[in-house]
């Protein structure tokens, strides 16, 4: 197949990073500033100018306001933010508009404001219902506030999603099952389950370096992960990605765009975009982000122009995160590669191990393969990258 046949889709998603929080939690390494709300005004100006510089515009299918805590912004600021986005982009009628929220930021006024702005999907950073776990994670809300936020929001949004975290020090299957069952009982449409990861640049990282143990062991984590699959599936949730579960028709389309190799704009500190053949990532520092834009420069920390082959590799390894796998038709269409380009030896090894299944329509991870997603994807990435004879 000729590489010039590969299609480059137009961006259909927009991510906007709102880097403000009341406080920084111990596990968090996102681009944000805590308790510096006076920067909000400059941030909104900078954001607007970033979108202008790209002359980014068009109709989009999904919009995601992440953070940070976008709901920390008051109604006026949120309105200003959305107005500047909608000046450039038009969300299609059936579009998905998600916002991340902290349970204790939501009152009926805020909810009404969000709904008026067009938000139809709310992602609540619940993390847990267990008081000890919330305390350990340094969250500033309690279980009652989660229930309250859900009750207030339920009537106003099509989807509500809960983030839950597992694998914190001392967490048993009982503790985790209670969290899962409680989440199920709130009748939200979507649940994301994340294993606690200790990222560089966090308090937890420093504590781990001082030999403090913050996570449960690998064995236990595997058990907790399987438990989540079991409880959520039994409750009618469909696992569509390694850490995402949804009731039918409630999968997050925005996140799916990341895994399918679709193109997306991204604005704000630390935001990562993929437009045309280029991946860009912004400076994570909020002040730096604002300053660069004030001086008329793009706040880029890094950018990389990808070959079709690299795009194909990305589509494959990130597509595999989805339970439906990487669709081979689509993959060939958008990367210009074909099935012969797959690293057969390694794939056969994974197939023999029962970790991967491959048929004429898709390559996907099996149930046991899901547990080793990172090792599998990293090996495929390395092996694909190695194959020579690439067309220039």
């Amino acid at each position: 197949m000729n590489f010039s046949d590969a299609k480059i889709p137009a961006p259909t998603s927009v991510y906007v990073h709102v880097p403000f929080c009341r406080q920084r939690c111990g596990y968090c390494n996102f681009a944000l500033v805590a308790d510096r709300d006076y920067l909000i005004k400059d941030f909104l100006t900078a954001l607007e100018s970033e979108m202008m510089q790209y002359e980014a515009t068009g109709a989009i299918d999904t919009l995601f306001l992440g953070g940070g805590t976008p709901t920390l912004l008051d109604g006026d600021a949120l309105t200003q933010l959305c107005e500047s986005i909608f000046r450039r982009f038009k969300l299609r009628a059936d579009g998905e508009f998600s916002i991340e929220a902290n349970p204790n930021d939501l009152d009926s006024d805020k909810i009404k404001c969000l709904r008026d702005l067009g938000v139809n999907r709310l992602s609540l950073g619940a993390q847990s219902f267990n008081a000890l776990k919330l305390d350990f994670l340094e969250r500033d809300h309690d279980a009652a506030q989660i229930y309250q936020a859900i009750d207030l929001s339920r009537a106003h949004f099509e989807s509500i999603s809960l983030d839950l975290m597992f694998g914190v020090r001392g967490e048993t299957a009982e503790v985790w099952q209670t969290d899962l069952d409680t989440a199920i009982s709130t009748q939200v449409q979507h649940i994301s389950t994340y294993e606690l990861t200790i990222e560089k640049g966090t308090q937890f990282w420093n504590r781990t370096n001082r030999r403090e143990r913050l996570k449960t062991n690998e064995n236990n984590n595997a058990k907790l992960y399987l438990l989540a699959q079991e409880r959520l599936t039994r409750a009618g949730f469909h696992q569509y990605e390694i850490s995402n579960f949804a009731q039918p028709q409630h999968a997050c389309r925005h996140n799916q765009a990341y895994w399918n190799g679709s193109r997306y704009w991204a604005f704000g500190p630390g935001a990562a975009s993929f437009v045309g053949n280029t991946r860009r990532i912004n400076h994570a520092g909020v002040i730096r982000y604002i300053r660069e834009l004030k001086q008329g420069r793009l706040p880029l920390a890094d950018q990389e122009h990808l070959t079709h082959r690299q795009i194909g590799i990305d589509m494959l390894v990130f597509g595999l995160r989805q339970v439906s796998g990487c669709n081979l038709m689509r993959w060939q269409e958008f990367s210009g590669l074909n099935v012969q380009d797959l690293p057969t030896t390694i794939i056969d090894r994974f197939i023999d191990a029962g970790w991967i299944s491959l048929d004429s329509t898709a390559i996907r991870l099996t149930q046991s393969g899901l547990l080793f997603a990172d090792a599998i994807c990293s090996e495929l990435f390395t092996a694909m990258d190695k194959i020579r004879g690439q067309v220039k």
């Binding site: 389950t193 547990l371 990435f381």
Partner: protein, 602 residues
Amino acid sequence: MTEIEPENIRNFCIIAHIDHGKSTLADRLLEFTGTITKREMQDQVLDDMELERARGITIKARAVCMNTTWNGRPYEMNLIDTPGHVDFHYEVSRSLACCEGALLLVDAFQGVEAQTVANAYAAIDQDLVIIPVINKIDLKHQRADEVAREMEQVLGINQDEIVRCSAKAGIGIKELIDAIVDRVPPPATNRGGDLQAMIFDSHYDDYRGAVTYIRMMNGRIEKGQKIQFKAKRTIYEVQELGHFKPKQTPRQKLLGGQVGYLICNIKSLEDVQIGDTVVRPNSDTPALPGYIEPKRMVYCGLYPSDGQDFSELREALTKLRLNDPSFEFQPESSDALGFGFRCGFLGLLHMEIIQQRLEQEADIDLVQTAPNVTYEIVTRSGEVLPIHRPQEVPNAGDIAEFRQPMVRVSLIQPEEYLGAVMKLCQERRGIQLNTEYLSPTRIMLTYRMPLAEVIYDLHDKLKSATRGYGTMDYELIGYEPADLVRIDILVNGNRVDALSIICNRGDADRRGRAVVKKLKEEIDRHMFDIAVQAAIGSRVIARETVKAYRKNVTAKCYGGDISRKRKLWQKQKEGKKRMKSIGSVDIPQKAFMAVLDRGEER
């Protein structure tokens, strides 16, 4: 230009420990004799290889000719630079054979070091006139008087003969040149006699081939004449000859007593053997004494890592050998590593240099097996087999005697570290031969020890046991029978030949345990458990397991995570470059060095 008379020639070298200021002194001599001006002076003129700079060691000898008028008379002074490191012992001995005198340079603070002693004895053995020099007398913490007593004590030097100088500050240089002129005897030569010259070094010029460094013993050579290398029996026509001043400066002829170079369209340095004698073609002039074939003491396997080309590696090795014939290589194959090369080196430093040059100059990712010394086995049938790699050790039943190379090690350190150093040597099966006080606070210990115990890390260990104050040197004293065994390493039941080691039977359990433990750390987790075992014959002496993944998901992966992950994987890919898949187990380069672990770390 008039011919310089032999009585106006002085050929000498400088013997010094690393950092004692040899290069600076050489620079100063060049400057004082007007050979180069201060403006032309590039720091440390004599050490011009990039690697040498990085290591601060003069790896290859060079020679420079200084013409000067001193006290109203013309002189030609030839400074022959000598490598300081023990790996290049033979080269040192050949350089010394070309001199009549040696400056014995000692740092006014550091004092006499092991290497200095070894090389000074070598110079005394060759009947060179020694001019003792204490350098860096301008240092704040200099202890020149004490160092002078040390020199007297260890080397039998008369304190009155010592020249005190500071090469850096230019103090005492004139006095030193006086001493060279007055004390170093002129070369004894018969210029009317038959041509006889010693090859003491060479270097490779990409455009002109080998440049051969010679010291004229007798007779003369002129441009365009034919010459013969005695040992190699090869005949060449001299295309160019001359002196290094320090740049190559062509001349019409070289006469008895002089030092210079020859260019004869020689394609490879392999054809220029250090220690060989240059004569007229087919003359019966005898060869100069002392020539030996370079002897490789350390061997290791070099393999292209996965996805790299065997023939590219061969090409790179061939090219390197043009420059450095003292290293040798031959193709070998390993069950575990596939096709590669067994390479022989003069010593461990030499090995590291070659390896670095391969990676820097040829951009090849290598997998290197742990270095080993050359053993000897006497079989039941009385045959003596050299063993360059552990795989070659025959079955225990066929071995009548297992021999290993032994060395005499000299270690010099302040008295307070005596206990630590003695312990270090005993752990390495050293037998103490001698203890000598160099001064009231510095002691020289002499041990007899297996070479294998010395080369890997004794120097590093000595440095850490003595806070950097200890120095050592060693010389080979021959082969001795020992109770040696081969330890095999099995990965998931498969013997990995490239991981086998030879060690003393008494140390086998400890070494075996240490090696498998280290391998467990170096081998990444896989999809399955990996058993790592050490065995002697069929008896397993140690075992560890690299556990399979239980789970390996990183929880979330959205826009920014994708970028981060790609970067991470790209980095991991770099790390995987130097990796070998054995069976279905990926073994990283570092694991092949794990077999050097001795299990001493607490």
